[in-house]
């Protein structure tokens, strides 16, 4: 099998999307940790357009953008599928994966801002959760059904990173009374062995992100 490599960064949920997919499919890979304050020349060579992680390499050829990488992995290694077979169900899964990817950015906006801008981001984040709760597929453990799928992976940021951001920023959005289905999913998702074994330490993340936010608001 051709060489598989992942350039990622430990605090990044986008990096973890790829780790989860590779682990769920049992694909051996080499992990390269990138220091985002000092990006390697290799990274800039592999991703000249966005200069971001994750970058996935298969046989030396780079694939960029986490959702694009997930689709690529699904295409090349169809075992333990992340998407349903039926075209209509696939389209629904892709819809929600895109929703999670697009709207999930609001939690990072909340992290990076303050005042009115932050309030706006908080409202967006809450609205995202509301939509998810409202349209959650009935009686399914994961969005993918009995096993984790692409939507669950895309939502990983909500499960593990949003609680940390909430603490740093001083908000409480993940209310179990308002979002019972979502919170149940978060518990199931994080208890799933492969996910549980592949999550960054929340305390370390809290310290790291807290420092990042301080740096953000220190700069003139």
């Amino acid at each position: 099998m051709e060489e598989v490599k992942l350039h990622g960064a430990w605090p990044s949920p986008f990096s973890y999307r790829i780790i989860w997919a590779l682990q769920l499919k049992g694909i051996p890979y080499e992990y390269v940790e990138e220091d985002l304050s000092n990006k390697s020349s290799l990274l800039l060579q592999y991703n000249p357009v966005h200069r971001k992680i994750p970058v996935f390499l298969h046989g030396g050829k780079p694939v960029c953008e986490s959702m694009v990488i997930l689709e690529y992995i699904e295409e090349v290694w169809p075992n333990n599928p992340l998407l349903p077979n039926d075209p209509n169900e696939r389209a629904v899964a892709r819809f929600w994966a895109k929703f999670a990817d697009d709207k999930g950015l609001s939690m990072w906006k909340m992290f990076r801002t303050e005042g009115n801008e932050q309030e706006k981001a908080r409202t967006e984040c809450q609205e995202m959760l509301r939509q998810l709760e409202e349209h959650w597929p009935a009686g399914k453990k994961f969005f993918g059904g009995g096993s984790i799928g692409m939507v669950d992976i895309a939502l990983g940021g909500v499960a593990h990173w949003l609680p940390v951001i909430e603490e740093i920023v001083g908000v409480n959005i993940l209310d179990p009374l308002a979002f019972p289905k979502l919170l149940k999913w978060i518990y199931n998702f994080k208890e799933e062995p492969i996910i549980k074994q592949n999550l960054p330490d929340q305390n370390e993340m809290f310290l790291f992100l807290k420092k990042q936010r301080e740096i953000l608001f220190l700069s003139p």
């Binding site: 953008e65 689709e71 690529y72 090349v76 696939r90 389209a91 819809f95 939509q131």
Partner: protein, 229 residues
């Protein structure tokens, strides 16, 4: 398949609505086009796309599919006997998805931003972004087309549909701002491609005329400037 089995909810000025229509045309699938009235959203739209309440929506056998590029992928998968829209090679497929995402997330927002009310400096900055994007896409065309007519090779494919659907608004923006964005000297590949794309059978009937788009944009601007009654 009965014509009414496939419906597209949309509106003529929307570049996103063009995408499923081009895809269905390429696959020779007959469909019913249900035009939304500007300024209001039909009950069918609200019911079919409760999350975003936006067009386009494809309704196939009474089941709605939303988000233009997701619809294009769905059309490609369901009508698999027709010409493929996504490349068969997984790596080429990933490149196609990458460029389509770039076009939607980075490039077109810069184009659209030019139309928004702002100072000359803001506009100039956006134009630089648009030109930089076009340079990247010029290069991407070289790599994806491999010397052939379209990003998809001999036939129109996913990236062609993603980028081509914005050509109407690109030309309208050029006209309204008296500037050339797609330039033969800077982007010879793309200029040639744009002509081929716009004159293609599957595209011609759904590509709005530039003048009509300019009129529509003026109407929009006037509407949003008008004081609330």
């Amino acid at each position: 398949m009965a014509k009414t089995d496939v419906k597209v909810l949309g509106a003529w000025p929307s570049p996103f609505v063009m995408r499923p229509r081009i895809a269905l045309n390429l696959k020779s699938v007959e469909y019913e086009f249900l035009e939304e009235t500007f300024g209001s959203k039909s009950p069918l739209l609200l019911q079919s796309n409760p999350v975003y309440k936006k067009i386009p929506v494809l309704i196939h056998q009474d089941k709605p599919i939303c988000e233009s590029l997701i619809i294009v992928q769905y059309v490609d998968e369901v009508w698999a006997s027709g010409p493929s829209l996504l490349p068969s090679d997984p790596y080429d497929q990933a490149l196609a998805r990458f460029w389509a995402a770039y076009i939607d997330d980075k490039w077109f927002p810069s184009v659209r931003g030019i139309a928004l009310p702002q100072g000359e400096e803001g506009k100039a900055e956006l134009m630089v972004q648009v030109f930089e994007g076009l340079a990247l896409l010029e290069d991407a065309f070289d790599k994806c087309s491999q010397g052939k007519a379209f990003f998809g090779g001999d036939k129109i494919g996913y990236v062609d549909i993603a980028l081509g659907s914005f050509l109407g608004w690109l030309k309208a923006t050029e006209k309204m701002n008296n500037v050339k964005l797609l330039d033969e000297t800077k982007n010879p590949n793309l200029v040639g491609w744009a002509e081929r794309f716009c004159s293609h059978d599957a595209v011609r009937e759904v590509m709005p005329e530039t003048d009509k788009l300019v009129e529509f944009a003026k109407m929009l601007r006037a509407r949003f400037k008008a004081p609330a009654s």
